[in-house]
Amino acid sequence: MAQNVFDRRRTNGPEESTPFIYEEDISNPVRPQETCRKGRKPADIRPIFLQPGLINQAAGSAYIEMDRTKIACAIYGPRQSKNVAFHEKGRLNVEVKFAPYSCLTRRAPMRDAEDRSVAMALHQALLASVRLESFPKATIDIFITVIETDGMEGCVAAGSIAASTALAHAGIEVLGLVMSCSAAAMGSEVWLDPTDEESRLSNGTLVLSCMPALTTVTSVWQTGRMAPNQALSCMVASQNRCDDIHTIVAQALLLDNSKSNQENL
């Protein structure tokens, strides 16, 4: 954004540059609201396109697209942990990187707090699903690149789905697939899978990650202001939607499996 740190390891631009602004936005800073939902019903989520096995260099991978949100995920490992003390269980390492062009304003290509907070949320969502006790001393690296994002909540949800799919694609032992769905409290309504603008207009948002096969929840992440009952109905709605997403993901994985089986024959 404002100040570009000179970094001899990259091609550098001018010392300082700023995002451009529209004349119209200064006089009328409130953004129009009619773009919300785009004809979606409150309980509708954006269409999911999921493709396991995009990155053939990795042990497992997945690419997910939910309308404008586009995320690629690769799994490396389990491989020997380096420079860490002995641990009976394996380690799960999640690294998230936002491409510089993934947001409305350009992100400097340095690691920032948002990368880490999304990585933290994904780690929490996935941790309980992976059978870490089955590979002591080893690390599973989950690398995620966000190509485009439309809302942090949707990014965490889509990232969780992609990462869990990629884990399954890599043949790593998990208790179940982790699905994730976000919800926003819009007045008294619950809007699932809110876009960036919708979350900003809402009172609060919630991301729920669960393993539909076991009907257990691995992570809840709520921000903003909600009545306890509202939070609960967000959770229920998200969990119900996760069951549907689970079907899609399972299908995508099976399809991919049968494809590779045919190749082997």
Binding site: M1, A2, Q3, E16, T18, P19, F20, I21, I26, P29, A113, R116, S117, M120, Q124, L127, A128, L132, R200, N203, G204, L206, M211, L214, T215, T216, V217, T218, S219, V220, W221, Q222, T223, G224, R225, M226, A227, P228, A231, L232, M235, V236, Q239
Partner: protein, 337 residues
Amino acid sequence: MASTTSLSKAEKSYIQAGLLANPPTRGDGRSAQDFRTISLQTSVAPLANGSARVSIGRDPHDGSGGTEVLAATKLEVESVDLGSGSGGVNGGRVMCSVTCSPAAYPHLSSAALDDLQYDLTTILNSTLTHPSLHPKNLTILPGKKSWLLNLDLVVLVDSGNVFDALFLAARAALWDTKVPRTRSVEYKARKAGGGGEGGEKGDMEVDEEVVSGFDTRQIRHATDFELPDYWDEGEELDGRDRWPVCVTLNLVPPAHFLDATLEEEAAIPLRLLLMFSFDSDEPHIQGMRTMGNGELTVPQLGELLKEGEKYARQIWQSLNAKLKEEELGRIKERNKF
């Protein structure tokens, strides 16, 4: 978050078995819902706009042990960003940052300490800087100048339950915060005389004559502000009763307990953080997140929400009582002189 204390399997199972016993017993004799002694002091940093120091479970005799957290707010004047790159926003901003004293985590490497600070900062930021809590009196000049409210927290000692301590300190410091009163000033004088704006140099000179000493940056607007009051007596933050308290439920399914010590935290894989506000008739959740390895079900979460609300309300009430007492004490103090 990596636990810093290593425990043997026998110690872990001793702690877990105690918590699952009926009635649950804990290493220090507390029941599952007991907190350690909490002490709180506000206005501890004279140069900050608001501050508080919280300790949980300090030894009453020699003051050793216990989780200790310091919070302070500092207000800064910011230009509203119109492509200038300063990042200021119309209506003001709130920013939290958590620093951990290396002395609080002697086992952690500096990289791990950085990560911990990042994570704690993220959790506080995502709750406290949410628009639903935004104070309305951070505007100085609409569209031009606003306050940046920096909330800095320092973890001095961590003996467990650092989240509850952080949020207690944050709420107390924000409660304690005084926003300096400002008065906007308008300059029309030389505009007419300048004849067709008269070039910028003339205007800037005008500014230099009258600008308050508080802000040394150039202000090229026709309007400015000054601080009429002595800095100590500002107004309270708008909606200061909304700032939430946090209650951490440590889960040993089916049981849960509050205010874990470091050893207990190391023995328990899963925690649920709940942030509540009771400023209106209806209670509100201001944040919720699970931390650690473990699973729950939605009905379980519903139960925990109910329980958590009960605990949070108790914390809320005793904190409010303490804050009012502190405030009264200070008013008396001031009246003495």
